[in-house]
Each structure stands twice: as structure tokens, then as C-alpha cells.
Subunit: 185 residues, 2 copies
Amino acid sequence: MRITKKERQKKLVQALEADPFMTDEQMAKLCQVSIQTIRLDRMELGIPELRERIKLMAESNFDRVRSLAPQEVVGEVIDLQLDQSGVSILEIKKEHVFERNGIARGHFLFAQANSLAIGLVDAEVALTISAEIRFLRPVHINEKCVCYAKVVKSQFSRTYIEVRTKVNSEEVFYGKFVVFRQKKK
Amino acid sequence: MRITKKERQKKLVQALEADPFMTDEQMAKLCQVSIQTIRLDRMELGIPELRERIKLMAESNFDRVRSLAPQEVVGEVIDLQLDQSGVSILEIKKEHVFERNGIARGHFLFAQANSLAIGLVDAEVALTISAEIRFLRPVHINEKCVCYAKVVKSQFSRTYIEVRTKVNSEEVFYGKFVVFRQKKK
DNA sequence: TATACTCTTAGTACTAGGTATTAAAAGGTG
DNA sequence: CACCTTTTAATACCTAGTACTAAGAGTATA
């Protein structure tokens, strides 16, 4: 016995973390033991077989891809008057919050506001130039952030937009955005 | 022959788009044809078998999971002196940019900066209170954003952090963050 | 009507990467 | 030496296929 069972199992877990696509055969070679030993190890450790592992990975990302892939806008736009105002909603889920305390990471609120501000501008190219933002109170998991954006001024190639995000009519985020635009449609 | 071959194949593609986890058997039932017909259809359409499909999904998201799942931080932290300074790198990929023009959406640069600023603060709870940010030039796909954050002041329960993001020593983003902190570790 | 042709179904052999089970060998410890 | 854990081996079976051959069904064409 070269290394102990415990050590081998530890090694296995690490190896699978680095490359979850290993077959039992490959693991057996890696650990210099028989395939049966590997299978017993997987049993003990509660590690499913390759195909199950792959499936779990694919499934877990499938939802995420679906909910995050239409990434052009963060949050669901429910109202939009181009060059005037818009409203979007973002429900804070576990992927948005700090594990530790369940408080939403600021950049998601920013992303919602930024997306809406950009989406508001009726131009071929619209890019954020600058922003002044304020996080007024922490937002928690399961809260629905309703984001209101309003164009306050449009000068030369710049659009000035004011954004307020509320949770139950309580303001949680405020931002002033300056957006650069090029060539009206 | 109820529906034509073309119609059936169209149906198949749509069904698989909605649920890529279907076996040939399930598809056969769905289309009211034999399993062999489904296999011929897959051949013609160049659709791989279930296991291959699942594997492709898992693989394609594996990289993304790696780079995005440790979501506590957007970007890879390569240097960190708590309460002093830190550096992180974010490579702009296709999921970060506007499809239209290949320019990075601002909120990713913000997220990188915000994450680093929060990560810099050595406290149990650290939350962004406000930020003043400026996007100095557009960042394109494949560019590597190196983000430098520096604590400039720490007063009461607030930490003031300055962040500069560069691409090839050219400044692309600048931000001043105010971070709230609670209870030192 | 017979023939040609596409479409569909059936059946067999084989594959990877396993599970589940039983049994035997190897190794270390009291 | 006996006991017990650990490891290996062997066998039957499973799923979701591939690869291939062959035959039947349905339709159009000479």
C-alpha cells in the first residue's frame, strides 16, 4: 500500500474538482489502483458516476444560461419610452447576493440601472461615460428591485439620465448616468 | 405518413432546443415514429447523441463556471494587501460585450472594480455606499483589464478607495468608491 | 402494371461507462 | 495464527447509443 485510503480519496476529490470529466479508468490509473477500488471510493464519498456528474453540470448551467444569457439587459424591461423613461424589474436571487449575509452585491443593482440607461438611448451606439451612484440601503434576497430611469437632459452627443431603484416604494439605489450616443437611428 | 419528414425534423430541432435532455426514445414517442427514424433524422441534421449533447453543454459552461462562479469576485485577484491595495485581472470575452459592436458593457468593468474594492476591506461586512465612476475609453473583446485599487482614507466606518483599470497601460476606467464596513475581523 | 425511389421500420452485433453482487486474495494488527 | 480492513477479480446487467444489413410501405414515373 503506497498511500493510505484517506489520502487517495482526498486526491480523488481534488482531481475531480480540477477535471470532473474523468472516467473511473482514468482515475484508477492516476491512483495506481484497480477500477473497483475507485468505485468503492466513489461510493463512500458519494460521488456519482461520470455521466451523472456531467448531466448535473449541464443541468445546473442550463437554467443559468437561460436566465442570464439574454444579457443585453440585466433585469426585465417592463416599460420603455425611448429617449424619455423606462422601468425594469430585477428579482434578487441567490446568485446575486453575498453568501455570507444574503445582501445583494452592488454591481447587480448597478448593472440593472446601467442596462436600462443604455437601453433608453435611441442611438446606434450608446456607451456609459460616467456615473455617480449611491446605494441607499442593502437589498436582500428575494426582494424585487424596480428601477426607474428618466432622461433629464440631452446635449450634443450626451444623454443625462437619472435612475432610482425601489423595493416596495423604498428607495435603495440612486444614480446619475451620462451616456454617450452616436448616430441616431 | 402523418406529417412530412421536413416538418418532423423541424419539430425535433425545436423540441431539443426547449429540452436538450431528451433521449431518442422520448423523441420517437413525441413524433410517433420509430427510434430508427429519429436516429436517421439526427444523422441528417448533424445532431449528436444525448450523451454528447450533455457533455458539450457541460464543457462549454465549465469554463464560464470557473471564471464566473466564484462570483464573490468578478475578475481574478492576483495581488491583495488587505486595507491597502489590490490588483485583479478580467479578460473581456464575448459574454461581456455588446453583440453589436464588441464593446464591453460598462457594468462588467464596474463589477470588477466594485468586487476588488469590497474584497480589499478587511471587515465582516463590507458594502458599497456610493461611487463616482468614469469610463475613459471603450474596451473591446479579448482585451485584458488590469484593475488597481488603493485605499486612500479610512474614517469611522467608511473606507475610501480609488480604482483605476488599465488595458496595456492605457487607462480605461476610473472610480472612487466609498465602502461601508462593520466589525473588524 | 411493373419498376424505381424515398422513407420508415426491424433486427443484430457492438460500444462506453457504468451498477450490483459475490467471492477471493493481500496486508497489517492484536 | 486469526481477524479485519482493504483491494482486486469476475460476472450479470443497464442505458443510450453506433454501425450495419435488410425488408416493408408509400408514392411517382416509364
